[in-house]
Symmetry: C2
């Protein structure tokens, strides 16, 4: 049984500190929005859907801490908390999407007592978490037939229960195929610099009993050349209207390798990961993180002092490498723009 | 000034312990062949040309320790030491090549006193080291025009002075271009699992003042997509007659990426890296190393216990991805088989 990634309990937010997994299962107890923001920024919680949920709960916590009685003052302070949360990480759209949903709850209830609005915000944050789990299960259902009995699936980073409210996106599809008793195996890339593959994905899969092999990131080409990989399934942090996918750095390299070997490359993500305001991946901001993640893993310095370092946390996989995107409303195939428009239409009325 | 990688001094072999670089510059003092074999096996010394030199010096040390007076008994013991050294690592051909050279010295001098043969073996091992440095300088000279002023060169693992007797192969070409005052930059992949890029390549380049940026291995695709890489230059552990290249795991991934982006992919290696006995890369044995290199970097466990691990130390880049191979006798372009035959002919007769 996997521990909960994030939970709202007695007006506090409990966040499983993923930096210490799999060694320790510690929860951060957050009493205010700023502690939640810090948890997102430092990757105690990560994964696009999970940080959306965390941001929503951060807003709810923030709202509880505002002592203004009139809507205008209350909302002003809340917007400033929104800003703080929005600054934590730039690439994943789910964070922005969740903050927007929370603002809309405020605006829809502006005639109400501030105390009532606070309660609505708490309920909305909890709903975002619960809906996320339901959405992931639907993604799993929609995508499960992309995985055949006997397949070996290559996945990158962690897109499982830990990256979401529960169940997972790309790993949710794997989980669903496993529940259907398909004889599958997973190859997990370690995912430098932060080892989410080594630490989180293998840990999740082992708890489910799903066979998993761990590799370093650049071994993917070798295994594909040896015909040991049947398909690639990854998550997404933001998807442009044309289907370009921002995801954990290294995803693009896997997509190029998959195409070179004629291996299907699939993306699994909720519709909330699509950003309708941007046309192509070139418009998606890529977060560059600190050099210590590369030079000093686990506090052990492995590179000379003052060496130049590049540390983009994400990359963009152009849509032409993507065979299909699995969403909770169905599998979208190229041309993605059309499919996205259709499913967004269905989802939003 | 770089410290010496390996040195013969007063009938001992001193090996710079590369496992502790860049933090500590320690030398292993080897008094017998078995200590040298252990240093090769545990990667205290690594890099195809360097382990060839180490093996030759190991044989010379081994010879000194044999107390037999008659050639037959002496040579029997020496062949058994050869076997021990040959078992250390299966992929790099230079090791086998150097052992063969040492055996040939014995056989050519079989009529001589054993004491004289021992002296010949010492001289041969020292000659292999000295020749290697000369060969590398010629490789640099032959390859330098593949690098233009202003180029950014992506390299993998460490192919510098530390991987050889001195100067380096792929990094020797870079070094030569730098000596010609070309304004160049290097991007070094960290090279999981053992971080030869982070620990050794950046350290060597910084000592030369050559600008270098460090990345994790799978960031290569991102930088190529951003048009930040002009060419890829790597070394080799063994090259088949048809030009298929065995090199550090991850090389094949870089070759696929390079082709996808229309970026030249070059290999730099001495002619002794070619294996005339094999036709294609499929015949080259790939060493699989222990899982702890992946699950427990620096003694810090980062993956769950009992997780399955794959750890091939090399991969094969098919010749169709290779634009040119730089040797000490010239640059070979496809079809490689023809070029290799021609240069081998020149070199051996």
């Amino acid at each position: 049984m996997l521990p909960k990634t994030i939970e709202w309990k007695e007006n506090k937010v409990f966040i499983l500190d993923q930096r210490r997994l799999p060694e320790e299962e510690n929860y951060l107890e957050c009493h205010d929005a700023f502690t939640v923001a810090e948890a997102i920024k430092t990757l105690a919680i990560r994964g696009a859907p999970a940080i959306g949920i965390a941001a929503a709960m951060g807003i709810a916590l923030g709202a509880l801490g505002i002592d203004k009685r009139d809507f205008h003052s209350f909302y002003g302070e809340l917007l400033s908390i929104c800003d703080t949360l929005k600054q934590t990480r730039p690439t994943a759209i789910n964070l922005r999407w969740a903050l927007k949903r929370m603002r809309e709850v405020c605006e829809a209830n502006k005639g109400m007592d501030v105390g009532v609005i606070k309660e609505c915000l708490i309920q909305e944050a909890i709903a975002i978490l619960e809906e996320d789990v339901e959405i992931n299960k639907k993604i799993g259902e929609m995508g499960k037939d992309l995985i055949r009995n006997g397949d070996t699936i290559l996945t990158h980073c962690n897109t499982g229960a830990l990256a979401t409210g529960g169940y997972g996106t790309a790993l949710g599809v794997v989980r669903r195929a496993w529940e259907e008793r398909k004889g599958i195996k997973v190859v997990a890339t370690e995912t430098r610099p932060l080892f989410q593959g080594s630490r989180l994905t293998t840990w999740e899969l082992k708890q489910e009993g799903i066979p998993v092999s761990l590799i370093t990131d650049h071994m993917a080409g070798y295994l594909m050349q040896k015909e040991e990989i049947d398909l690639v399934m990854v998550g997404a942090d933001r998807i442009a209207r044309n289907g370009d996918v921002a995801n954990k750095i290294g995803t693009y390299t896997l997509a190029v390798l998959a195409r070179e070997h004629g291996i299907p490359f699939y993306v699994a993500a909720p519709l909330s990961t699509f950003d309708p305001t941007i046309k192509t991946g070139e418009e998606i901001p890529i977060e560059e993180r600190g050099e210590e993640e590369i030079t000093t893993p686990w506090g052990k310095r492995i590179a000379p002092e003052d060496v130049g370092v590049r540390n983009p946390a994400f990359d963009i996989t152009p849509h032409r490498y993507v065979m299909a995107i699995v969403t909770e409303k169905g599998v979208i195939r190229p041309p993605f723009e059309e499919g996205v428009r259709r499913l967004w239409g269905e989802a939003n009325g």
